[in-house]
């Protein structure tokens, strides 16, 4: 049986939105809830930007607006999502759990995701240190991946300073 990862990254916009939603769902469900905001999947881009500027040392509170714009802009939001998805792929058990959730969502009448949940995905990826994924609940250290995402986001913010 083929997995969504077999076609990755050549996905339609709708497939990408659904894969991002499935990944956010798995990350939110596999981590220690105390590490996460109250409703991480439903988080707005404004709240996500507030979370990110507060939790990433390389960003300042003044840059909240820029981070929010990055999460809302189609191009940069997709870039950010690909960085997180790339990190997820590095952990086979996690990637497999995401693929399974993606398939389950596809089979159910959940409806297509209309929004790219970039804010939720990036917040989850940068806040979660450890995940238990797969049937055996394999422990996965995700903090290094989180650092990669943080560095990428900080780089994007730096490139936008002064709208240069």
């Amino acid at each position: 049986m083929t997995s969504i990862w077999d076609r990755y990254p050549d996905l339609s916009p709708s497939e990408l939105r659904n894969l991002v939603a499935a990944t956010a769902q798995v990350l939110a469900g596999s981590a220690d809830r105390s590490e996460l905001p109250a409703d991480p999947i439903e988080i707005s881009t404004g709240e996500a930007a507030r979370e990110l500027t507060a939790s990433i040392d390389m960003l300042s509170a003044d840059e909240r607006g820029v981070v929010q714009e990055l999460l809302e802009d189609d191009d940069t939001a997709i870039e950010l999502c690909h960085v997180v998805l790339g990190e997820v792929r590095r952990h086979p058990e996690l990637a497999s759990a995401v693929a399974q959730t993606y398939e389950e969502r596809s089979r159910k009448m959940t409806g297509a995701e209309l929004l790219l949940l970039a804010g939720a995905l990036v917040v989850l990826a940068t806040r979660i240190k450890e995940i238990r994924a797969g049937k055996g609940g394999t422990k996965i250290t995700f903090s290094e991946s989180g650092e990669v995402v943080k560095a990428f986001l900080a780089g994007l913010v730096a490139s936008l300073r002064g709208l240069g």
Binding site: G46, E47, E69, L163
Partner: protein, 564 residues
């Protein structure tokens, strides 16, 4: 179809409201965008725009003077193809500098719009100007990048409407453009949803619960408002999203909604200025003349009084002050129709409803304060509401009334249908009949064009009358189309000009006033017909004259349901 000025205004909205443009202004001439723009202004693909781009960079976007000068002095002499090249060059700069892309595409689209003059949206041989395919698209893309979601939406909607109005929308020159605008409209829609989410979250975080309840009351969510008022809970996120969406649609016509939002403007717990919709909230629309000309602005007085009442902090002096304002509002209502402004009767209704409520609470009602008398007052207002609803389909130029007429309805239900209401001389059956009339009023047109099936022997008098009814209903539909004609998407008018030309002479007035006049005339003729029908088909005529269900019918239907 918005005219040229409306299109230009939509393009310029970004200058006033986009967060990215605000940052560019703050950076000014020292910004990287300005330096980049100065360099790129020398490129041959933007040669016709060189002077304006240089001036904008040197002015640091502090004013629009360079753009206005360009429009007045140079824009008309530049060809459409040159604008297209400059805009494409601007779009290519998006990866390099959003600010540069924004300025180039803005100058290009504005110059192009001005160069076409009043022919901007015209169709020549059934096709719009070639620039519609690229120029608004390039600009809207850049405007989105700097954060102007609403302006971009208007530009995209207008361009899509113009392209769809082409007689040959499947022409190869248009197909890709139409598809590109559809895709961009999806992006704009998602951005708007995000903007609504962001504002909803900040409202939840704010300490402005009573302001939000005032918004609910003003937009017609009266039972919900009452429920939260009693429970002390804030509105849900989902309710806030609805309030934001409705507010943004209604504010240009609804000063009361606008002033409730304005009361939230400078509150420490909410940074309203940081949101995409701030420009909508903070703009002057001139909806209601007294707000611009009286020493006390009635809409502001309404908003402050309502919030104060919901807060439980309204004193007798405050109430007396508000009632004084309402006395003058009542006088103005007599002449409102003849004064400038886009507000509708719902403004008066909500202001006066609040006045009744406060007067009752503070024992300031003149005359008999009995429950029956009070219900009579609300019934009288509800009857007016029903009449207004029954005519709203003839006002397509006004914002949807939504729930703005709900307040008397709420009181009639609360007082007329509560247990023991009959003991106070109130007749619940009359209340139910009033509610049914209110419901039916929202479907006036649908009920008018859907007669019941009444059999008639061929050749009989009744058959002849039913034929006349069918014919008049056809006319009524035509008149209704005329009422809406100017407000429908442009492709509805694709063949209109030619039809008028072929008929010779001036085309018939395809406008709101003609439509309304025709509609009312046909309605009158139908009324006369039903009078004549009464002798031969009494039941049919009676149902056509009054399409509401009787209390007995409603009770009969309800009694078919059994509780479990």
């Amino acid at each position: 179809m918005p005219g040229r000025q409306a299109f230009v205004d939509a393009c310029l909205e970004s200058y006033w409201s986009a967060p990215g443009v605000a940052r560019m202004k703050a950076d000014g001439t020292g910004g990287r965008w300005a330096a980049e723009l100065l360099t790129l202004a020398g490129h041959e693909r933007v040669a016709p725009l060189r002077r304006v781009l240089t001036e904008v960079a040197r002015d640091g976007l502090h004013t629009l003077d360079p753009i206005f000068r360009f429009q007045d002095e140079e824009a008309a002499a530049i060809r459409g193809k040159q604008y297209g090249q400059a805009s494409a060059f601007g779009v290519e700069q998006l990866r390099r500098s959003q600010g540069v892309a924004y300025v180039i595409t803005l100058a290009a689209v504005l110059g192009w719009a001005v160069s076409l003059g009043e022919d901007l949206t015209a169709q020549v041989d059934g096709m719009p100007d070639r620039g519609w395919v690229d120029l608004p698209h390039g600009y809207a893309k850049a405007a989105l990048k700097v954060g102007d979601v609403r302006g971009a939406r208007q530009v995209v909607d207008t361009a899509y409407d113009v392209l769809m109005a082409a007689r040959y929308p499947d022409h190869p020159a248009l197909v890709e453009g139409i598809a590109a605008y559809r895709a961009l409209a999806g992006t704009v829609g998602r951005r708007l949803e995000q903007a609504i989410d962001n504002l909803a979250d900040d409202l939840l975080r704010s300490a402005l619960r009573t302001h939000l309840l005032a918004l609910m009351w003003t937009l017609g969510f009266v039972p919900e408002c009452e429920s939260l008022r009693r429970s002390g809970q804030p509105p849900s996120r989902s309710m806030l999203r609805t309030l934001i969406r409705l507010s943004m649609d209604r504010i240009p016509h609804d000063p009361l909604t606008q002033y409730v939002w304005l009361e939230m403007k400078d509150r420490p717990s909410l940074d309203l200025r940081g949101h995409h919709f701030f420009h909508v909230i903070n703009r002057r629309y001139g909806q209601y003349l007294p707000d611009a000309t009286w020493p006390v602005m009635p809409s502001q007085a309404y908003a402050q009084t309502l919030i104060g009442w919901l807060d439980g902090e309204l004193g007798l002096d405050d109430v007396a002050g508000y009632l004084d304002v309402i006395d003058r509002v009542r006088e103005f209502e007599e002449v409102r129709e003849y004064s400038p402004g886009s507000s509708d009767w719902s403004v008066y209704l909500r202001m006066i409803s609040l006045a009744y409520l406060l007067a009752r609470e503070h024992d300031l009602l003149a005359g008999d304060p009995s429950p029956a008398r009070e219900l009579q007052t609300w019934r009288s207002l509800l009857d007016q509401v029903t009449r207004m609803r029954g005519r709203h389909h003839l006002n397509p130029h006004r914002a949807d009334l939504e729930g703005t007429l709900n307040y008397p309805l709420f009181h009639v239900i609360e007082q007329g249908l509560r247990p023991g209401a009959g003991d106070n001389g109130l007749d619940p059956a009359q209340v139910v009949q009033a509610l049914e009339s209110y419901r039916a009023a929202a479907m006036t047109f649908s009920l008018a064009v859907t007669p019941p099936s009444t059999p008639a022997p061929p050749g009989s008098e009744l058959a002849r009358l039913l034929d006349t009814e069918r014919e008049l209903i056809g006319w009524l539909k035509g008149a209704f189309f005329l009422v809406n004609y100017e407000f429908l998407p442009t492709h509805f008018r694709r063949y209109a000009t030619e039809a008028g030309t072929l008929a010779g002479g001036a085309p018939r007035g395809l406008d709101l006033e003609t439509g309304r006049r025709d509609y009312l005339e046909v309605e009158r003729l139908l009324g006369e017909l039903y009078d004549r029908m009464s002798a031969t088909a009494g039941e049919h005529a009676a149902r056509r004259k009054d399409p509401t269900a009787s209390v007995a019918t409603i009770a009969g239907v309800l009694s078919q349901h059994t509780g479990s």
